[in-house]
C-alpha cells in the first residue's frame, strides 16, 4: 500500500502509531481504574444497603404470608400486568401489521404504475446525446419523486452491475437526496437482479434530514438504451411509525391506569371480603381467650352475614356449654360443701359420744367395753375416710385453691418430723434429715405441702420395717426436691406406678391392719399438681422405696430437672443400706436426670412413664 515516494513520511506515522498505542494504554489503564472505583462504590453501597433491603424483603415476605389482602392485591396486579402485556403486545402487533400492510399495498401498486411510466418514457425517448439523455433520466426520475404531492417517494436508480457497458450509457446511478444504493438491503437487490420482471419489496431504513426513517423499498428493473437498471422506490413509513408510537403510548398509559385501578378495585373488594374474615378471626381469638360474650357483627344476608350468624350461633352454644359446665361444677362444689356440713354435724355428735363412752370404758363389762372401743376406733376411721373423700371431691370439683406464700421448706419439714416422731418411735424407725442447705424459701401452700410430706413420712415409717427413714432436701435455681426413702419391704416398679391411684393398695391383705383411707397419696398427688410440681415414686422389692416431691421455687414456675435423683444412690453400693445416709446429689454433678421421664403423679403421663421406672429399677437390681 505504501508507495516508495512516501517513505519519508513513514517514520512520522510510526511515531504517531506508537504515541497512539501509548495513549491507548494510558486510557485503558485509566478506564480500568475508573471501572474498579465504580465497582467498589457499587459494592460498598450494596453492603450498606443490604440490611435495609433485607429488612424490606423480609417485611414484604411477612406481609405476603400474613395478609390475605396484600397477597390478593399483589397477585391481581401481577396477573393483570401479565395479561395486559400479552393483550397490548397483540394489539400493537396487529395495528402495526395493518398499518404496514396498507402502506405496502399502496406502495406496491404505486410502484408498479410509476415504474411502468418510467419504462414507457424511456422506451419512447428519442435522445442520443449525453446531456439530453441525462436530462431525460433525471427529469423522469424527479417526476417519480412527486415533489409537493401528498405521498412522497424517493428513488434509487442504479445500473445493474456486471453487464456490458454500451457506449451511450451516460447515467450509472442516480438517487434522491441523501440516498445511495447502500440503503437498499442486499437481499432485495439480489432478488431484483436475479429476477425477470417481478417486483420485490423489503423493509429498510434511510436517512431523512438528520435521522433515519423506516420505510419500504420496492425494487423493479427498467431498461434504457439497452442498459438494465434497478429502480427502487422508497416510501417513508415515518408517519405510520408515529401513529403506531402514539397508539402504543396510549396503550401504555391506558394499561398503567387500568392496572392501578384494578389494584385499587382488588384492594377494595378484598378488603370488603377479608375484613369480615379478619373480624371473625379477632372475635374467635377473644372467644378462645375466654371472653365468651364476644360476637360478630352481622349485616345483610350474604355469605359473610351467614358466616357471622353461624359463628355467633356456635359462640352462643359454646358459651352455653361452658356456663353449664361452670354451673355444674359450682353445683358439685355446693353439693360437696352441703354433704360435708350435713355429714359432719351428726358425725361430730357421734364422735363426741363415742369418746365419752370410750373414756368411761373402764366402768363397763367386757362386752360393752370392747363395743365402746370398736365404736371409737371405727368412728375415727370413718371420720378420716370422710375427710379424705371430701378433700378428693374438692379437687375433682376444681374447688381447691392454691394459697402460696414464700416459706422456708425446712420449717414445714421440721413440723412434719416432729409430728411423725411419736409414730416413728412406735415402729422403731429413726427419721434422718440430710441436706446441704440450711434454708430454702419456696412459694408454696404450706398446709398442703405439710400434708404431702406428712403422708410420705408416715407411709415410709409404716412400710419401713423399723429401719431408718431418710429425708433429703436439695434445691437448684428453679426447684426444690424432697425425697423420703425407706428401706422396708419396698414395692415393684409396677406397684410404684400405681401408688397414686385412688384406693389402690399394694397388698390388699395388709389394708385392714394398716388402716388409712387409701386416698392419702392421691390427695398428695393432687396437692402436688396444684403446685405445678412432681410427685414420683420409686420402689424395688426388698430394697425399700423412695418418694420424691419436686416443687418449683416460684409459684407457677416450671421444673425442668429435679435437684435429687429418684432412684436412690445407696442402692449401687455394696452391703446393706440400713445405716447409710442417702447420698445427696448435687445438681451440677449429676450426669443425667430421670426427672422428666419418671412417674409424675397426678399428671396424665403417670401411666405412660411406668416403662422407664421399671427399667431403672431393673438395672439397679442387677447392680
Amino acid at each position: 500500500m505504501q508507495s516508495p515516494g512516501s517513505h519519508k513520511q513513514g517514520g512520522t506515522r510510526m511515531t504517531d502509531a506508537r504515541r497512539l498505542m501509548l495513549l491507548g494504554r494510558i486510557w485503558t489503564r485509566r478506564a480500568l481504574i475508573l471501572g474498579l472505583r465504580v465497582w467498589r462504590l457499587v459494592v460498598t453501597a450494596l453492603r450498606h444497603l443490604r440490611p435495609g433491603l433485607r429488612y424490606l424483603w423480609k417485611s414484604l415476605l411477612r406481609r405476603w404470608r400474613r395478609s390475605l389482602e396484600f397477597r390478593t392485591v399483589m397477585m391481581t396486579i401481577v396477573l393483570s400486568v401479565v395479561s395486559f402485556a400479552v393483550v397490548g403486545a397483540y394489539l400493537s402487533n396487529q395495528i402495526a401489521n395493518n398499518l404496514f400492510q396498507e402502506r405496502l399495498t399502496q406502495a406496491e401498486s404505486e410502484s408498479r404504475y410509476y415504474v411502468k411510466q418510467v419504462q414507457d418514457t424511456f422506451d419512447g425517448a428519442q435522445v442520443n446525446d449525453q446531456s439530453s439523455v441525462i436530462t431525460l433520466v433525471y427529469d423522469t426520475l424527479n417526476a417519480v419523486e412527486g415533489n409537493g404531492s401528498v405521498i412522497q417517494r424517493r428513488y434509487v436508480f442504479e445500473a445493474l452491475p456486471e453487464q456490458n457497458k454500451p457506449r451511450n450509457r451516460w447515467v450509472e446511478s442516480r438517487a434522491s437526496d441523501q440516498l445511495t444504493v447502500r440503503v437498499i438491503p442486499s437481499e432485495l437487490r439480489k432478488a431484483v437482479q436475479e429476477s425477470g420482471k417481478e417486483q420485490y419489496w423489503a423493509s429498510t431504513e434511510f436517512p431523512v434530514g438528520n435521522q433515519d426513517h423506516p420505510g419500504i423499498a420496492v425494487g423493479n428493473k427498467v431498461t434504457f438504451n439497452g442498459t438494465v437498471y434497478e429502480l427502487y422506490l422508497l416510501y417513508d413509513l415515518e408517519n405510520a411509525q408515529q401513529t403506531l408510537d402514539q397508539i402504543q403510548n396510549v396503550l401504555w398509559a391506558g394499561g398503567a391506569a387500568l392496572i392501578i385501578m384494578i389494584g385499587g378495585i382488588a384492594w377494595y373488594v378484598t378488603r370488603n371480603v377479608v375484613s369480615p374474615v379478619s373480624h371473625a378471626a379477632v372475635v374467635s381469638e377473644k372467644l378462645a381467650a375466654g371472653q365468651l360474650q364476644e360476637r360478630m357483627v352481622v349485616k345483610g344476608e350474604d355469605e359473610v352475614a351467614r358466616l357471622g350468624a353461624s359463628f355467633n350461633h356456635m359462640a352462643a352454644s359454646l358459651q352455653e356449654q361452658i356456663t353449664q359446665l361452670a354451673t355444674l361444677s359450682q353445683m358439685q362444689q355446693r353439693f360437696v360443701s352441703d354433704v360435708s356440713h350435713e355429714l359432719r354435724t351428726p358425725l361430730t355428735t357421734v364422735r363426741m359420744a363415742a369418746e365419752v363412752l370410750f373414756d368411761a370404758r373402764e366402768n363397763f363389762d367386757p362386752i360393752n367395753r370392747r363395743s365402746a372401743e370398736l365404736l371409737y376406733n371405727q368412728v375415727e376411721r370413718f371420720q378420716s375416710l370422710l375427710s379424705d373423700l371430701l378433700e378428693i371431691s374438692r379437687f375433682d370439683a376444681g374447688a381447691a385453691v392454691l394459697e402460696a406464700e414464700p416459706q422456708d421448706i425446712f420449717q414445714v419439714i421440721g413440723q412434719v418430723i416432729e409430728g411423725a416422731a411419736p409414730v416413728a418411735e412406735e415402729y422403731g424407725s429413726e427419721l434422718r434429715l440430710t441436706s446441704r442447705n440450711k434454708s430454702i424459701i419456696v412459694e408454696m401452700d404450706s398446709r398442703r405441702i405439710d400434708r404431702i410430706l406428712r403422708n410420705l413420712v408416715l407411709n415410709a415409717v409404716e412400710h419401713g420395717e423399723g429401719k431408718p427413714v431418710h429425708i433429703s432436701v436439695a434445691a437448684n435455681h428453679e426447684a426444690v426436691a424432697v425425697t423420703v426413702r425407706d428401706h422396708g419391704i419396698g414395692m415393684t416398679p409396677a406397684e410404684a406406678a400405681r401408688v397414686f391411684d385412688r384406693f389402690w393398695r399394694a397388698d390388699p391383705a395388709r389394708a385392714r391392719t394398716t388402716g388409712g383411707s387409701g386416698l392419702g397419696l392421691s390427695i398428695a398427688a393432687e396437692d402436688t399438681k396444684l403446685h405445678n410440681g412432681w410427685l414420683q415414686a420409686w420402689g424395688q422389692k426388698g430394697a425399700g422405696s423412695n418418694f420424691r416431691l419436686t416443687l418449683p421455687l416460684k409459684k407457677g414456675g416450671t421444673i425442668v430437672k429435679s435437684p435429687l435423683h429418684l432412684e436412690p444412690h445407696d442402692l449401687r453400693l455394696p452391703g446393706t443400706a440400713a445405716d447409710r445416709h442417702v447420698l445427696l446429689v448435687d445438681p451440677q454433678e449429676s450426669p443425667a436426670d430421670d426427672g422428666g421421664a419418671s412417674t409424675a403423679a397426678g399428671s396424665p403421663e403417670s401411666d405412660a412413664s411406668e416403662g422407664p421406672d421399671a427399667r431403672e429399677a431393673g438395672e439397679a437390681g442387677r447392680a
Binding site: M352, A399, D408, G419, I441
Partner: protein, 224 residues
Amino acid sequence: MKARILVVDDDEALAEMIGIVLRNDGFDPVFCADGGQALDVFRSSRPDLVLLDLMLPGSDGIEVCRQIRGESDVPIVMLTAKSDTSDVVRGLESGADDYVPKPFKPAELVARVRARLRPGEQKAPETLRIADVTIDVAGHMVTRGGERISLTPLEFDLLVALARKPWQVFTRELLLEQVWGYRHAADTRLVNVHVQRLRSKIERDPEAPEVVLTVRGVGYKAGS
C-alpha cells in the same frame, strides 16, 4: 365460779352433746338454737365465751359473729363444718378468735375453750412500745398518739407477744402456740387473718405496715 359458755347451734343433738362435754369439764353451758335470737340470749346470759356454728337458720353464723363482736370483746370460737379456706377466713374476718373444724374431739373443743378463757394472768404494770403505738399491758390499753385503739383480747395478746420480744421473728406456728395455745401444728391461716385485722386497727397504712412487719418466708416481727 364456773365459766358460762353460750353454745349457738341449730343441731340439738350436737348442742346437747357439747353441753354434756362442757358440763363434764366444769363449764356452765347456755344454749341457743336460732341465730336470730342469739344476740338476745347473748345479752341476757352474759357468757364468758361463745361457741358459734357458722351455718345457722334465721341468721348466718357470720352475721351473728359480727353482731356480738359489735358490742363485746368476748372470745368467739366458731364451729365449722366447712374447712374451705374462704369460709374459715370469712368467719375469722367477721370477728371470731378461733375455730374448731367438725368433726372435733371433746378434748379438742375443751382445749380451745380453755385456751380462750385463760384467766388473764396477773400482769405486772408494764408499758411496751412498737413504733408510735404504746401498750399498757396491765391496763389492757393500746394508744397511738394519745388516741385509744380498741382491740379484742386476742388481738391484744398477739400485739403484746410481738412487742415483748421486738428482736425476735415469730413464726406463725410459734404465734399459734403462744397466742392461741395450740400445742401441735394448726392452721396458720388463723395468724394471717388476725394479723390483717390487727393491722387494720393499729397501722396508719395497713398496706405499708410499721408496727407488725412481715418477714418473708418466716413470719412476723414487731416494728421498731
